[in-house]
């Protein structure tokens, strides 16, 4: 009789163990599902495909690095002549080039006029010639000035400056920067 009691007790214990096992399995299952779901929803090489041009090394250079127009007469074009500047493509693929300049001179005395009409009071215009698409410079990158410059090829160009007839003062030295941006054709 005593043995039976012990057996009943053991049976009760084993039943509780079985219940706790089931609970444990359910918890483990839930944890596994919870842990795996975010991995499936994260970016992976299955749902993000990245492609690139293996030969697309890009590098452009400009010569000269700076230029002085010296004194310029208001209302008259002053040009660098004979292809003073050179655009180089030292990359491994054909390149397109965009050009822009600052909206004012560094001294902020004069403003850029990019419309092609004669510059008004305290304005100046810059014009690029001899590249594929000669045009006035603007203060944002727009259409390309040159397209498809081959790898290790170069091209010469000139820059023209026009200062407006009307100036509010006899300005001294004015400086500005011209930016060249190269990208794959």
């Amino acid at each position: 009789m005593n043995k039976d009691r012990i057996y009943l007790f053991k049976y009760a214990i084993s039943k509780r163990k079985i219940d706790s096992k089931i609970l444990f399995v359910l918890i483990v299952t839930f944890i596994l599902i919870a842990a795996t779901t975010p991995i499936i929803l994260a970016a992976s090489e299955d749902n993000v495909i990245i492609t690139f041009d293996p030969n697309g090394d890009i590098d452009i250079d400009i010569s000269l690095a700076s230029y002085n127009f010296s004194s310029a007469i208001a209302g008259m074009w002053k040009n660098s002549t004979g292809g003073v500047f050179t655009l180089y493509n030292n990359g491994s693929v054909p390149m397109d080039t965009q050009i822009k300049t600052n909206a004012t001179t560094d001294e902020t005395d004069m403003s850029l006029n990019a419309s092609g009409v004669p510059p008004a009071l305290d304005e100046y215009a810059l014009y690029i010639e001899d590249l594929d698409f000669p045009d006035y410079l603007t203060s944002v990158y727009g259409a390309e000035f040159d397209q498809g410059l081959n790898s290790l090829d170069s091209k010469t160009f000139d820059i023209c400056l026009l200062i407006g007839v009307n100036l509010s003062a006899n300005f001294s030295w004015q400086t500005t920067t011209i930016y060249f941006q190269g990208s794959v054709s």
């Binding site: 993000v48 495909i49 002085n68 941006q181």
Partner: protein, 213 residues
């Protein structure tokens, strides 16, 4: 004659220093990077190819800074448009120091906010990653030149709602887990029955079982 030769050699040595060139000062690769998303995701995880390599081929160290910009309407690829928000693209790091003759990479990470994703299925965006170095001769003349290099970044968004395959995987995994749980449950139940069956006829458990069934 000897003097002339020395003069000629001196000019030859000095000549390169007169020819000042504005250089990008570095090389970048690749020039075009296309990221195509088959499905939206919640978080970007590391992939193998979302990197742009920057090389300093010179004998001096340079700083390279990186920024993002929309290409102008005149130069954007046909069928592509500007990304609605540039902050959805992250570049890491934004400033890079390259020691002489060294290379490094910057990572391009695309993270479209979850609440915006449903608005932008089947979109083709073009953005430019622009690299600029401190090799800038500024202040040398009335007009100074600066060179920037741009990597064209193309982003293609998912064509439509997430395909069933993603949910199929979750469903399969859940089914498998429940199946395993079920098997374990059956096994433990059988074991319990085995324990009851094996009770001795003269034990009180035997009577308990007989009373019950």
């Amino acid at each position: 004659m000897k003097k002339l030769t020395i003069l000629f050699l001196t000019i030859l040595v000095l000549f390169p220093s007169f020819s000042v060139v504005t250089k990008g000062g570095f090389e970048i690769w690749p020039g075009k990077l296309t990221i195509t998303m088959n499905e939206w995701y919640d978080k970007w995880v590391e992939t193998k190819y979302n990197k742009i390599h920057v090389t300093n081929p010179y004998s001096y160290g340079i700083n390279v800074s990186v920024k993002l910009d929309h290409p102008g309407a005149e130069v954007i690829y046909e069928g592509y448009s500007n990304i609605p928000d540039l902050s959805w693209i992250k570049i890491e790091p934004l400033i890079l120091y390259l020691p002489p003759y060294s290379s490094d990479t910057v990572k391009v990470i695309i993270e479209v906010p979850k609440d915006e994703q449903s608005k932008y299925f089947n979109e083709n965006w073009e953005t430019w990653v622009i690299f600029d170095s401190n090799l800038y001769p500024g202040g040398q003349g009335g007009m100074n030149f600066k060179v920037e290099l741009a990597v064209k970044l193309f982003i293609n968004t998912p064509k439509g709602e997430a395909s069933l395959s993603r949910y199929l995987l979750i469903l399969l995994f859940s089914s498998f887990s429940f199946f395993v749980t079920f098997i374990i449950f059956i096994y433990t139940k059988k074991r319990k029955n085995y324990l009851i069956k094996d009770t001795k006829p003269n034990s009180s458990l035997f009577f308990y079982r007989r009373k019950r069934f």
